[in-house]
């Protein structure tokens, strides 16, 4: 399993990082974390899919609406490394159970302090993950805005 967050690290470094974590099995539909929860762990997806949702008012009812899905190798919950350390989405196992490795923030920060080179690589990988999310949603936002403008101009 190759994790996007651990790209460029040696096998020994990857092993050390993974030893900091705990494997969790998330049954289908069960939440890994909810919007607003304190974010003190980030998760590496090992198996299954993690569905990310946000609450939205649909016909007067609050519904968790699909935002994104994370597959094996991808990172979930990077709010654990970004102040104010609160999750900004709700994450749950999708159709089937999922397996993740939960990495506590404190343990990671200690590791980064002791291994700055590895810490730098992980931070850069995290920047790629965050940057991709930003670009993706920027594009989606622009497309929605374009449609709104077209409807208003029609």
């Amino acid at each position: 399993m190759t994790h996007e967050l651990l790209n460029g690290l040696s096998s020994a470094e990857i092993e050390q990082i993974l030893k900091l974590g705990t494997r969790l099995i998330i049954p289908s539909g069960v939440s890994l974390f909810r919007l607003g929860d304190p974010a003190d762990r980030l998760f590496l997806t090992e198996r299954g899919r993690i569905k990310l949702t946000l609450p939205m008012q649909v016909r007067g009812r609050e519904e968790d609406v699909f935002v994104e899905e994370r597959s094996p190798g991808q990172t979930v919950g990077w709010s654990a490394l970004i102040p104010p350390y609160r999750f900004t989405l709700t994450a749950a196992a999708a159709l089937f159970e999922a397996e993740v490795i939960a990495l506590p923030r404190e343990a990671l920060l200690h590791y980064f302090a002791a291994n700055p080179a590895a810490g730098c690589k992980i931070t850069l990988n995290l920047a790629v993950v965050i940057g991709h999310r930003l670009q993706l949603f920027q594009t989606m936002w622009l497309r929605e805005m374009q449609r709104t403008v077209e409807v208003r101009s029609a």
């Binding site: 009812r61 993706l136 989606m140």
Partner: protein, 108 residues
Amino acid sequence: MDMLLIGLCVGVSAVAFVALAFGAAMRSEPWNTTAPPQLPLVKAVAPARFFSDRAPVPTVVPSGQVPIEVLLLQIENHVRLEQAAAESFLAFPSQALLHSKTTSPLVN
């Protein structure tokens, strides 16, 4: 003397009749002012359904609206299509890909 007695009897009878009539009139007045007795509320009974054991399914969705589950699936499908379009744009940024039309039924 006889005439006097007959007149007295008729007078007493007339007074008694008037008194009875007045009493009856006084009793009948509150009858009219009291509210009619409350009948126990009975739920409306559905018309009998012959030749069928099935209860009618309540209609929740107004006509012309898709069920909310279908709408949520349409939203999810729309987001997936938009993400795919955004991924295409990010892989090969161009104005044409940025503004490519979607096939999502949510907006079409």
